[in-house]
């Protein structure tokens, strides 16, 4: 008898684990079966980046609307793209160049902006951008710049140029970003070329620059999220990364500085889109609308340090910060988080490149890794 109980217990445990495992791995697929329109429970499958939301907002949205949110994350635009084939997401938050690629491949649904009244709060600067010129598919979520993060105690002079990313003077102390678009983009900018070039020669030169620096031991590593630990604990002197993440690192290491290099840089917008084959388009639009509300934008800005495109939130944030923390927000930091238009004017957004250039990027990037 005892044995039987143990057996039953073990079986149910295993089954439970298996089932919950499946459910956790693929919330999207379970969602697609259960609800369709009004019948059954309402839900929305969101795929975003890691550490990219004030997580309390998810619960509040669920409470306010009764819509269940299945929130998952991807590591990079390319990883997200690869995942799209298998999963059944409703809302994704890709960056500009990936959005144009998805629009080009007809994978995004046109939004019904009547269901997203908060879209009116988005600053005009972030509407009708080149990735979605008529603004039919997207609602911006965050924006910012790519730049150089450096440890002021480990370099002799302030870093002002992308040259530092290739300088043997800092051999073994530089962290290059581990994705093809940004890394080759940095080399292109250092050479004075456009980040949107299709010219094979220019891309080859950018590759040569990176490859030579790698060969000369300039790079301690090619990193994405590992950059936090390495910069915060002063294991490396210089890294190329995003402004929002710099502000997170600064909380743990006050010696860190951030610069948008004089050659200019990349400025990016990550925007929320709904996939064409989404089964929960209305819920998706409700989610998008909720995320654009000034309150949600303010709290997101506070949690992730990336600037929101919501005009009110941008204006109110310094005040919000002072109320929350009892001390004023350093205007210099705010200028890094949400830079002036003059800074953006010196920066270039990534545009989607034709297939041929994308393949060249892949080949060069693989070659560099070897």
């Amino acid at each position: 008898m005892k044995k039987m109980t143990a057996f039953a217990l073990a079986t149910s445990l295993t089954l439970g684990l298996l089932l919950s495992g499946c459910a956790m791995d693929d919330p999207a697929s379970s969602g697609s079966q259960s609800s369709n329109g009004g019948s059954g429970k309402r839900e929305v499958n969101v795929c975003s980046w890691g550490e990219y939301i004030d997580e309390d907002l998810i619960g509040e949205f669920e409470e306010a609307t009764g819509i269940k949110v299945n929130y998952t994350t991807a590591e990079s635009n390319e990883a997200l793209y690869a995942k799209l084939a298998g999963a059944n997401y409703d809302v994704i938050v890709p960056s500009d160049y990936m959005i144009s690629q998805l629009i080009e491949e007809d994978k995004l649904a046109e939004l019904n902006y009547d269901n997203i009244p908060n879209f009116s709060k988005i600053d005009d600067r972030f509407k009708n951008l080149s990735y979605d010129p008529e603004n039919k598919y997207t609602v911006p979520y965050t924006w910012g710049t790519l730049g150089i993060i450096y440890n002021s105690t480990m370099v002799d002079e302030p870093i002002t140029s992308w040259d530092a990313m290739f300088d043997t003077k800092y051999a073994g102390n530089v962290l290059m970003i581990n994705n093809s678009r940004d890394a080759l983009g940095i080399a292109l900018m250092d050479l004075g070329y456009s980040v949107n070039t299709d010219n094979k020669d220019e891309l080859q030169q950018a590759y040569d620059l990176l490859s030579k620096a790698k060969f000369n031991g300039v790079y301690q590593g090619f990193v994405m999220d590992e950059v936090f630990q390495k910069m915060e604990q002063s294991n490396a002197a210089i890294a190329a990364y995003y402004a929002g993440d710099y502000l997170t690192m600064l909380e743990n290491n006050p010696d860190l500085k951030y610069a948008v290099p004089e050659e200019g840089s990349n400025w990016f917008v990550d925007a929320m889109c709904v996939l064409k084959d989404s089964q929960h388009k209305e819920e998706a639009e409700e989610w998008i609308n909720f995320m654009c509300s000034t309150d949600a934008c303010l709290r997101n800005m506070d949690a992730i340090w990336y600037a929101s495109p919501n005009t009110e939130a941008l204006e109110k944030y310094p005040e919000y910060y002072e109320e929350t923390y009892g001390e004023p927000l350093d205007p210099e930091l705010y200028a890094i988080m949400a830079p002036d238009q003059s800074v953006l004017d010196n920066c270039e957004a990534y545009l989607v490149r034709p297939m041929e250039t994308r393949n060249l990027y892949s080949d060069l990037w693989t070659q560099l890794g070897i």
Partner: protein, 287 residues
């Protein structure tokens, strides 16, 4: 009658195999021989490009081989002495060996990163005990830290740390089951303990060594997260290269499948050669 029953019991596993082992391999093969869109169709191009990745193949097999050897050198003595101790010692030792495996291997590898960093625990410890001052005064150098993270040595360390239990356990389970009468017979015939080990115990534990080597070597060749974290993205291995084609900056699952297929074939050949070699040894010893 008995045969029928067996095949009935094997049905769940056959279904499992078909769904999750055979079908994916067939998909990998199909992908490997397909051209990337928009061309599509049958192609051998994916394999023609393999030559440019020879460096990665060489590095992967070299590091995996080193890791396997180190595991064997550490693992065999541990397994041997563990098997000779009393049952309570064995239980504790087994627990200690298995303990790290209760934690996710990514977490364990992250901890190693913190230990090996430029300002990591090890370098701070060396600096605190004045090791760098000592070295600098003796050799007239000017070092303030050892470069550990981002080297191939760190990658090997990561693999050894993660896969060592897979070497110890099979060897241990073979040695513990050795027939003691054989050892006694060897001693009765005048063999000293070195000879007993060399002529009896070691040959009889070869099956354990072989499965240990397989269980360490195969995952080491195809590892990807360890090499990226410990190697700082500068020690690309086959697993990283394949991942790059599926999830990374270079999206080309067709090329990725071709690389995976070539890797599988090389691994199978390695295993086949090793097992043949092992069998020969075993028989020779028994004779």
């Amino acid at each position: 009658m008995k045969k029928n029953k067996l095949s009935l019991f094997s049905i769940p596993y056959v279904i499992w195999m078909a769904l999750f082992v055979v079908a994916p391999i067939i998909m990998v093969v199909i992908y490997a021989f397909t051209a990337a869109p928009p061309d599509g169709g049958f192609t051998l191009d994916n394999f023609a490009r393999m030559g440019s990745y020879a460096v990665v193949f060489a590095r992967s097999f070299k590091l995996a081989l080193i890791a396997t050897l180190v595991c064997l050198l550490i693992g065999y003595p541990v397994a041997y002495f563990m098997a000779k101790e009393g049952p309570s010692f064995q239980r504790v030792a087994m627990m200690i060996i298995m303990l790290p495996m209760w934690m996710n291997f990514l977490l364990r590898t992250y901890s190693w990163m913190a230990i090996l960093e430029k300002n990591g625990f090890l370098n701070q410890f060396f600096s605190a005990i004045g090791l760098f001052n000592l070295i600098n005064s003796i050799f007239g150098t000017d070092i303030t830290y050892f470069k550990m993270i981002g080297t191939s040595g760190a990658v090997v360390l990561g693999m050894v740390y993660n896969y060592l239990p897979f070497m110890i356990l099979p060897i241990y389970s073979v040695i513990i089951k050795l027939d003691h009468s054989l050892l006694e017979a060897a001693r009765d015939l005048g063999a000293n303990s070195a000879a007993v080990f060399r002529r009896v115990i070691f040959p009889l534990s070869l099956p354990g060594i072989l499965s240990g080597v397989t269980m360490v070597f195969v995952p080491s060749v195809s590892t990807f997260a360890i090499s990226r974290m410990m190697g700082g993205g500068t020690q690309m291995m086959l697993g990283d290269l394949i991942e790059l084609q599926f999830l990374g900056g270079a999206y080309n699952p067709y090329l990725g499948s071709a690389i995976a297929l070539v890797m599988m074939i090389i691994v199978v050949i390695c295993m086949y050669v090793m097992n043949r070699f092992g069998e020969g040894e075993e028989e020779a010893m028994l004779l």
